[in-house]
């Protein structure tokens, strides 16, 4: 029987992190950002059936990049967690913070356990608060680190390049159309600055919102087809689109160039490659 090679724990964690990052880097990005009436999720996704963005609970949405079977499994586990908790206690007792913690425990546990391969996923759990200031976006990486993101979050292969575009274009209180167009511009700029922005049409996008103005308790809604096309084209949404929630453009920001970003944006959009070290979390990658 051969004795196993000694591998230093640092090296082992680094190898596992590299492995997970490589898997995540192959996928197209997802952008999540605040807009005037809530939170919008924009993913580059050419599949109509395999979703990257989903509903977890009344006010909680989910987005993911990486390996489909792994994040789909996480999404379903999140729905089970939320529904069981909401049924046992009350609907208001289901929070994104609780869910993000549960995900972090799971991802961190798998990452640092020697047995299983780490999940090749990054996920975002976003929650609509009672007011715009209470909205939350949590970003979780493959090793269980949680980041509480301000303004916007990007994840996926070329998150750094996309985050640059968002940082330059983001302003508080963007209307839905402006927010979606900014996100699409960010997703198309994944080749880095100086290269032409890829055009992404309705067929290449998956868009959903957590809409505070929606009358029903379940605030999650997909935006697709003609409605999405109208948003991309910058037209004011007409009331006759079958969804009279008044969530269309509020005609506040101009269509192409949103107001200049605030100066306090430095904390937003942490790049993918340096997972934030959170106290009490699972160890981050060694790099």
């Amino acid at each position: 029987m051969s004795s196993p090679f000694y591998v230093a724990p640092e090296q082992q964690m680094k190898d596992r992190a590299d492995f997970a990052r490589k898997g995540i880097g192959r996928g197209r990005s997802v952008v999540v950002l605040h807009y005037a009436d809530g939170i919008v999720f924009v993913a580059e996704n050419r599949s109509q059936a395999l979703h990257k963005v989903g509903e977890i609970y009344d006010r909680i949405g989910f987005a993911a990049v990486g390996r489909y079977n792994e994040f789909e499994n996480l999404r379903q586990a999140g729905i089970r967690y939320a529904d069981l908790r909401g049924y046992s206690y009350d609907r208001t007792d289901v929070t994104a913070r609780g869910l993000a913690n549960a995900y972090a425990q799971l991802l961190g546990g798998i990452f640092s356990s020697g047995g299983e391969k780490p999940y090749e996923v990054e996920i975002i759990v976003a929650e609509l608060g009672p007011g715009a200031a209470d909205d939350q976006i949590y970003r979780l990486t493959y090793d269980g680190s949680i980041g509480d993101e301000e303004h916007f979050a990007v994840m996926g292969g070329s998150a750094d390049a996309s985050a640059e575009v968002l940082r330059a274009g983001y302003a508080d209180g963007l209307d839905l159309g402006a927010a979606v167009r900014l996100a699409v511009q960010a997703l198309g700029s994944d080749a880095g600055p100086g290269t032409p922005v890829r055009e992404l049409g309705v067929d290449a996008l998956e868009v959903a919102v957590l809409d505070r103005t929606r009358a029903l308790p379940r605030k999650f809604r997909r935006v697709a087809g003609p409605r999405l096309a109208a948003l991309l084209a910058g037209e004011a949404t007409t009331a006759g689109n079958g969804d009279g929630n008044g969530s269309g453009d509020k005609a506040s920001a101009s269509t192409t160039s949103p107001a200049a970003p605030e100066t306090s944006l430095g904390a937003a959009g942490t790049p993918t490659t340096s997972a934030p070290e959170e106290p009490g979390q699972a160890p981050g990658p060694a790099s």
Binding site: H51, G54, E55, I56, N73, L74, Q76, A77, G78, I79, R80, Y81, D83, L84, R85, G86, Y87, S88, G98, N101, A102, Y103, A104, Q105, L106, G108, G109, L216, R218
Partner: protein, 286 residues
């Protein structure tokens, strides 16, 4: 993460949540936290005593279809024996965006079962990414009623009336149940609960398939009034406290509850008419 979950082996998410499995919330809860389900309660009890006196009983629910959907209404009374346990209980609920469930029978259990049914439909829709068909929803409810059979035999029967807009068939449909989980599709109109005999009799004379939503609502309110007239367990409109029947309309745009002020206006018209003719509007003999 349920308080009673025995399996919290993997941090915050029990491994049962991660195993690819069912789209049914009831099946999940049965596997992970069975004691949160109403059906598991008293399941070990072999007592043959009638437990029906333990909980208030809800009474009359009426439903009627019209060309643009279906109207469901319920009175507001819950009784315990000869006592009125609650005068403003709500027994008609939206089950999801396009369907409505009304309940008669053991009130505590019934309200809990409605909550479970709502989660069941929402859970399926979120996991699968598409809602169940209306008949699929009706069948899920039948399964849940069947699970309640041991309690029904001890006097805690729950008798729901399920109705909704069938997107595929483009019409409103009504389903009734018996305590064993038997499911029956009803046509045009139906009623359950202690006052249902009187309500159905009234609707027989008032109902026409071509009525508008407002006229169907009025017919249903008349039927509830007639039920309250002859059944002591069914509450009539409480004009002093302004407590009126709960009325929901399911149509192609979803479920909408008719506002209390609107129902109040209709009830005032109805009661005004009854002052001159206490038995309600007359139907032609031939």
């Amino acid at each position: 993460m349920s308080p009673s979950s025995p399996d919290v082996t993997r941090g915050g998410l029990p491994s049962a949540f991660l195993r690819a499995g069912t789209s049914s919330f009831v099946e999940l809860a049965t596997a992970v936290a069975p004691d949160v389900l109403p059906s598991s309660r008293l399941a070990g009890s072999t007592s043959t005593t009638n437990l029906g006196d333990l909980t208030p009983h809800g009474t009359t629910i009426v439903a009627a279809t019209f060309p643009g959907g279906v109207v469901v209404a319920g009175d507001r009374r819950a009784t315990m024996g000869n006592m009125i346990a609650q005068r403003d209980i709500e027994k008609v609920f939206p089950a999801d965006e396009f369907s409505v469930v009304g309940i008669a029978g053991a009130a505590g259990l019934a309200v809990e079962m409605v909550g479970l049914f709502q989660v069941e439909l929402e859970h399926y829709e979120k996991i699968e990414g598409a809602p169940l068909s209306l008949v699929g929803k009706a069948n899920r409810l039948a399964t849940m009623i069947r699970g309640n059979l041991p309690l029904a035999m001890q006097g805690l029967a729950v008798v729901p009336l399920f109705a909704g807009w069938d997107e595929a068939a483009r019409m409103g449909r009504i389903f009734s149940y018996d305590a064993t989980g038997g499911r029956y599709e009803e046509h045009s109109f139906f009623s359950v609960g202690s006052g249902s005999i009187f309500a159905r009799g009234a609707l027989k004379k008032l109902y026409r398939p071509d009525l508008s939503a407002a006229d169907t609502t009025m017919a249903v309110l008349q039927a509830l009034y007639d039920a309250a007239d002859d059944d002591s367990a069914t509450g009539g409109p409480d004009l002093a406290r302004r407590i009126f029947p709960v009325v929901m309309v399911a149509g192609p745009d979803g479920v909408e509850r008719v506002g209390d002020d609107q129902v109040g206006t209709m009830v005032d018209t109805l009661v005004g008419g009854r002052r001159t003719r206490p038995d309600g509007p007359e139907a032609p003999v031939v």
